[in-house]
């Protein structure tokens, strides 16, 4: 069957693009706010949701979203706003979540052979149920809408939280909105390339975009574009790798996506290295 006639490929391309379009804008703000660690932490807590969902025969996507929203709320409540409290609070949530994932995955692999561990940790874009596409689209839409509405306040508070406060912006609402978008972006990214690698899709295209442009709006669009290109290239290469050794098995999509993201980042770094003096 040809690439474009394949149903799973269709689903993978649609979901991949939706995920990348969310991860781009959210990732740019994650990088400039210095909150990659929070993103990683959400990804790890998401594994609890994903593996727990597997255990009770629910689509792991719903588990990722549910757990990430709870984790984001807990992180916000524990004081993510304070720069120093942030790492400690995130670390505490993180340890507990990963412990639970270990338990769930262990229980799951004892009772069945659904490949839960690989799916949760490293993604499953080719085995996605086409029925989840509307849910993915709505989730992506909510995250993009939150980022679009909070765009200017987020930018201002990324420059200086004090400046934003002096302008009468409620720091809590802005930061909670951003964390909500981050939780959704990480959940979607986790379904595509797995919980462990999801920050690569969040941070990689954004970091690449930051090398290429100095305009905030352009960086957001470039990150979305680079992410989409990377996921599509990953899907295509993975499909193609079916004919590579070991034959008839195919290489994982996650590997290709992360690899393309890395290659794009290195290329952008090399291309702009000569412009170091320029500001």
């Amino acid at each position: 069957m040809s690439f474009f006639a394949s149903g799973p490929v269709h689903t993978a391309l649609i979901v991949g693009a939706l995920v990348a379009v969310v991860s781009g804008p959210v990732g740019v703000f994650t990088v400039i706010r210095g909150q990659s660690f929070a993103g990683h932490a959400l990804a790890d807590t998401g594994t609890t949701g994903g593996s727990g969902a597997f255990l009770v025969n629910v689509n792991p996507l719903y588990g990722f979203v549910a757990l990430n929203l709870i984790a984001a709320a807990v992180m916000e409540a524990l004081g993510v706003r304070r720069a120093r409290g942030r790492d400690v609070a995130t670390g505490i949530v993180l340890g507990a979540a990963l412990g639970l994932s270990a338990l769930f995955l262990d229980l799951e692999t004892r009772s069945s052979t659904t490949g839960a561990t690989i799916t949760v940790l490293f993604g499953s874009i080719f085995t996605l149920d086409p029925g989840t596409v509307p849910f993915v689209a709505v989730t992506a839409g909510v995250a993009v809408a939150v980022m679009a509405v909070l765009y200017r306040p987020l930018l201002l508070s990324s420059v200086s939280p004090e400046l934003a406060a002096a302008r009468g912006l409620p720091a809590g609402v802005v930061s909670a909105g951003y964390l909500l978008a981050l939780a959704l972006a990480v959940s979607l990214s986790a379904v595509t390339i797995g919980a462990i690698l999801s920050t690569a899709l969040l941070v990689g295209p954004a970091a690449t975009a930051l090398r290429l442009t100095r305009r905030p709006g352009a960086a957001v669009l470039a990150a979305a574009g680079i992410g989409t290109a990377a996921t599509w290239a990953g899907v295509a290469l993975s499909y193609e790798s079916y004919y590579w050794p070991p034959y008839q098995q195919g290489w994982p999509v996650s590997f290709f996506v992360v690899f393309v993201v890395l290659a794009a980042y290195l290329a952008a770094t090399a291309a702009t290295a000569g412009r170091k003096g320029r500001r």
Partner: protein, 253 residues
């Protein structure tokens, strides 16, 4: 004429410590006021009170004759030490634009009026030359000038600057102070700037607010910076020495 800012017997307590202890201060239209004092004297607390970020337990703060409200656009603010990532995708021009509408929701929309306001503010601080550079890659002095443009673009009647000269070298310090002096004179906007050293400000300062231990002595510079006035403020003997147009406040016998 109504003063731009008026504080009357303001008291502020933070974590059990009285940081502002009956502070009274008046700043008139277009006046350049230096808020001078050592670390911990209460300068930042006073500025945050003027900005409405802190609510006093006692006393009264009025801006333009009206009680303070937090969203008051009569005041432009340059906060203390901003650390921007050199890779942050934000040009000087974008940051100044945020001064205009950064508190609004949604994405910015281009308009001739917006561009004109941003260009005007950049020109007022002499930042045209690096308007399209990333803010995080500018020198400390250039960043401060962009921050001043950011605060100025909404046409406030008062600029509040918290230690903008900290971490600047001598030439950048003079440059930033000269820009402030010019903006104050040409645009008639009042300036309230905190610093631990008054000397760079002396050529531009109309009035001084000298701070020690949560108390303020304010007035024309020559009337306040005198041994007996500061001795009363510090409740400890101090001496004011003058040499080659510079002022030095030292602990006295």
């Amino acid at each position: 004429m109504t003063p731009v800012v008026q504080l009357r017997d303001v008291e502020v307590t933070r974590s059990g410590r009285r940081v502002l202890d009956g502070v009274s201060l008046e700043i008139g239209e277009g006046e350049f006021t230096g808020l001078i004092g050592s670390n911990g004297a209460g300068k930042t607390t006073l500025l945050k009170t003027v900005l409405g970020l802190l609510t006093p337990e006692a006393g009264e703060v009025t801006i333009g004759g009206r009680p303070l409200s937090r969203r008051d656009r009569l005041v432009g603010y340059v906060p203390q030490s901003i650390h921007l990532d050199p890779d942050m995708p934000l040009r000087a021009r974008d940051l100044v634009g945020l001064g205009l509408d950064g508190h609004r929701l949604g994405v910015p929309r281009r308009s001739a009026a917006r561009t004109r306001a941003v260009t005007g503010a950049l020109a007022a601080v002499g930042a045209e030359g690096f308007a399209d550079s990333r803010v995080g890659r500018l020198s400390g002095g250039e960043q401060q000038r962009v921050m001043i443009a950011h605060a100025l673009v909404g046409h406030p009647r008062l600029l509040v600057l918290d230690e903008p000269l900290a971490n600047l070298d001598i030439s950048s310090t003079n440059e930033v102070v000269a820009v402030l002096g010019r903006v104050c004179r040409e645009q008639g906007v009042a300036v309230l700037i905190s610093a631990h050293d008054m000397n760079p400000l002396l050529p531009y300062m109309d009035r001084i607010a000298y701070m020690a231990d949560g108390r303020v002595a304010s007035g024309p510079t020559d009337e306040v910076v005198r041994s007996e006035v500061l001795t009363r403020l510090y409740r400890h003997p101090v001496e004011v020495l003058r040499a080659q147009g510079r002022v030095l406040v030292v602990s006295g016998g």
